[in-house]
């Protein structure tokens, strides 16, 4: 855009029409608006987490947001880049990280995680839009490696029927006594849906996640294909195993409602930057992430697999984008 020459001006200098190439109109959604919309969509999950784990748990997401925001501001200042906290992306990364951490985590660890998310997850790649891996998950993967004990120490859920036990449903199923069936140790589906179970701050309540995530799907800030395909991938693979041996393997619905599955499907796998561009690509990404999640949960060493499955699929995105180019309108098959 540049100011137009005076010949244009019919308003006696009181207005300055600008020049630009078409299109002259822009849609309402901008990147900052989309980022802040996701932040807003996380509020139900945050509120549920505080209800389950107490007000003091608010420190974890606050520390994570503070860490990522401070890292973004400091790195931009050091690299002499514009101040970008207003675009909401760093705050979103910090909040996403904070909500997938145990509620009782020492705050300095959460803050450090936020710094790593932005530093190693985003800035090293060149900032917004350039990163390959989901920054919040990079931060969490770092913390899983650095603080293995704290990252698997869970607080009891105040609203749970059993308000003392602090083992997550996934751990109960994974590390159950030999001879016990998956069904016998898994909590009722109703508890998983409402979130009255131990777990990460923002991950336990399927209901809260569906409210926020559903709003994003309706607003088309998140593409419905990815979460749907991820659910399909997990349900088909998990369901096939369950059908073969219902005593050994958990019900597919358990996979969808436990751990970080829904949170990952609606808020991590729908990240704009680190997921495929085309609809078919998004479907493949989601399906792969769902499949890998069940694979890791049932056959890996860890009780939960959402984080690694999404990170692995992140790495596959350039390849998916290359293979899944749409056929040009009217081109021969």
């Amino acid at each position: 855009m540049s100011a137009a020459p005076a010949a244009l001006d019919q308003t006696g200098g009181r207005a300055t029409p600008t020049l630009a190439t078409s299109p002259h109109l822009h849609g309402w959604w901008t990147t900052p608006r989309m980022m802040w919309a996701v932040v807003a969509a996380l509020v139900p999950s945050l509120a549920a987490g505080l209800a389950f784990f107490g007000w003091q748990a608010a420190g974890v997401p606050l520390a994570a947001v503070a860490g990522s925001a401070a890292a973004e501001a400091a790195i931009n200042r050091w690299r002499k880049l514009p101040f970008t906290l207003g675009d909401g992306s760093a705050v979103l990364t910090g909040l996403l990280l904070g909500l997938i951490l145990p509620p009782s985590l020492p705050l300095w660890m959460a803050g450090l995680g936020g710094i790593v998310s932005i530093g190693l997850g985003k800035a090293v790649f060149g900032g917004l839009g350039m990163n390959i891996f989901n920054p919040a998950l990079v931060g969490r993967a770092f913390m899983q490696a650095a603080f293995p004990v704290s990252m698997t120490t869970w607080a009891a859920n105040r609203l749970a029927a059993d308000a003392v036990s602090a083992a997550t449903p996934l751990a109960l199923v994974k590390f159950r006594e030999p001879g016990l069936g998956a069904v016998e140790v898994a909590p009722p589906i109703r508890d998983l849906f409402l979130g009255t179970i131990p777990g990460c701050l923002g991950e336990t309540s399927a209901l809260a996640i569906l409210i926020g995530g559903g709003a994003l799907l309706l607003l088309k800030v998140a593409n419905w294909r990815t979460p749907l395909a991820m659910a399909a991938g997990a349900a088909l693979f998990g369901g096939a195993l369950w059908a073969c041996n219902p005593a050994q393997y958990p019900h597919p619905l358990f996979h969808l409602l436990s751990g970080g599955f829904l949170f990952g499907a609606l808020f991590m796998a729908t990240d704009l930057v680190t997921t495929p561009i085309t609809g078919r690509g998004m479907a493949i990404f989601g399906f792969g992430a769902g499949f890998l999640t069940v694979l890791i949960r049932l056959f890996g060493g860890l009780p939960e697999g959402v984080m690694y499955s999404i990170l692995i699929m992140n790495a596959a995105v350039p390849l998916i984008n290359r293979w899944m180019r749409p056929r040009i309108f009217g081109a021969a098959r």
Partner: protein
């Protein structure tokens, strides 16, 4: 009644800008008084410029030939009004490129000198032809003589489109009444005010092209226009000679760019024009409603194309209007006629807001295919944002009606990987602006795509 249905036909992709047609849709077409001077570019059409056939100082009759068409793709320019040729000059045009133009001062002829015969001053008219009997070749000749160019935006000389090659097998004429560009209501007014003539003209063109079926596509935000056309197309209202031609009015979903040739043809016939192909590749011919009426007027009434029909709108125009103006009227005069600009004007556009051209010189004239003059405020342009990094959200690919991946093509153009861009179909892009409209980072996608297309075309030329 033509009712709005959720499943009205459409195409994959596209966007929904606010249509803003309420500003002018109920304002009947009005004639604007002639300005002091008309500027008539020799190039008001796609193809080769016309060649002046008059001299400075000469007085010309309305409708008189001012510039001859060249061989091949070209179009004549006729005098929109009687007047004196004051100059053959260079000047700015609304396309942004300077061009040669004829300046004409409307007015009566100079008094005849003693002994000189009184000259003919009546407008030049062509003999009226019987639309039911005229030979196709005569329709083409008349269209060429009248200097008619496509009113849909590209300004392609219509006579060329009416004479397809012998081996083309056409079975349907599609009349484009979509008017998918926001703000514009000129086609809507033509459909509402002249439905019978539009149906007659459609039948005339169908006969000329040798097809027995006409589909008039209208977006479903103009169902009253669809209704008017449908009732005009009902058999008892039509001339006997049109009996063998089926005229169908097809409501379409309101979505940009529904009026793009390929999109409309797909919606109307479910056939997809292949990349680089013409509509005739799938048996279709397509004409804008304004073009159909211009051809009809030239044949049935013997009129030449001397007026442009356009919408003047936007919230920075004091009195929006739908106008009939003499071709060659400077944009500044049109704006002044509409009460002038408000202080909130942020951009002045000739054409629609999605594909039109921002103006830097309001002395530039209205040309034959001009569909609108818009003066928009800052708020109307949408959110203001510095172009940022692509965030790879894929919204552009989801919206691209031609299934391209605009973010990738623009990155290839930016990195000067033009060969790869060409192999990925960049030349298919029609610059509709859908991708850039939807891009949340305001990446200047269309600009990069234009550059990429240009360079890709050069590569092709070098190779051949």
């Amino acid at each position: 009644m033509v009712r709005l249905r959720l499943r009205d036909r459409s195409f994959r992709g596209g966007v929904h800008p606010r249509d803003e047609k309420a500003l002018t849709r109920d304002l009947p077409l009005q004639d604007m008084p002639d300005p002091d001077v008309l500027l008539l570019p020799l190039q008001q059409h796609l193809g080769r410029p016309s060649v002046p056939a008059v001299k400075k100082g000469e007085w010309v009759r309305e409708g008189q030939l001012l510039a001859e068409a060249q061989d091949g793709i070209s179009a004549v320019v006729r005098a929109p009004r009687a007047g004196t040729i004051t100059a053959l000059q260079s000047g700015g045009t609304a396309s942004g490129f300077p061009g040669r133009m004829i300046a004409l001062k409307p007015g009566p002829p100079p008094p005849a000198a003693d002994g000189e015969e009184a000259r003919e001053t009546a407008p030049v008219t062509l003999p009226a032809l019987d639309p039911g009997a005229v030979a196709p070749a005569d329709v083409v000749a008349r269209t060429r003589a009248a200097g008619i160019v496509g009113q849909g935006g590209a300004a392609f000389p219509t006579a060329v489109k009416l004479a397809p090659p012998q081996d083309a097998k056409l079975d349907v004429l599609i009349v484009n009444g979509c008017e998918c560009e926001p703000y514009l209501t000129r086609d809507y007014r033509l459909m509402i005010e002249r439905p019978a003539e539009l149906v007659e003209g459609s039948a005339l063109l169908a006969r000329t092209l040798g097809v027995a079926r006409v589909v008039i596509g209208v977006e479903n935000n103009k169902l009253d226009a669809a209704e008017a056309l449908r009732s005009a197309a009902a058999a008892p209202r039509r001339a006997a000679w049109t009996a063998g031609i089926a005229v169908e009015v097809l409501p379409l979903r309101t979505k940009y760019p529904q009026g793009a040739e390929k999109m409309l043809i797909e919606a109307a016939t479910r056939r997809r024009v292949p990349p680089g192909g013409l509509p005739m590749a799938v048996g279709a011919a397509i004409q804008n409603v304004g073009t159909v009426l211009a051809v009809r007027d030239a044949v049935v009434d013997g009129r030449v194309q001397t007026n442009a029909v356009l919408t003047v709108s936007g919230r920075a125009i004091r009195r929006p209007a739908n106008l009939r103006v003499a071709v060659g009227t400077p944009i500044a005069d049109v704006i002044a006629h509409c009460g002038g600009l408000t202080d909130e004007v942020a951009r002045i556009i000739v054409g629609g807001p999605m594909m039109g051209v921002a103006q830097h010189d309001l002395a530039a004239p209205v040309v034959k295919a001009c569909s609108g003059i818009l003066a928009l405020t800052r708020e109307e342009l949408g959110p203001s944002l510095e172009p940022g990094n692509c965030v790879r959200c894929g919204r552009c690919a989801e919206a691209c009606p031609l299934n391209l991946v605009p973010s990738r093509l623009s990155r290839l153009a930016e990195r000067q990987r033009f060969e790869e861009a060409r192999d990925s179909g960049i030349e298919v892009c029609m610059e509709c602006g859908t991708c850039a409209f939807t891009c949340p980072s305001h990446v200047p996608l269309v600009q990069w795509l234009r550059l990429g297309k240009q360079e890709a075309r050069k590569l092709g030329r070098r190779a051949s």
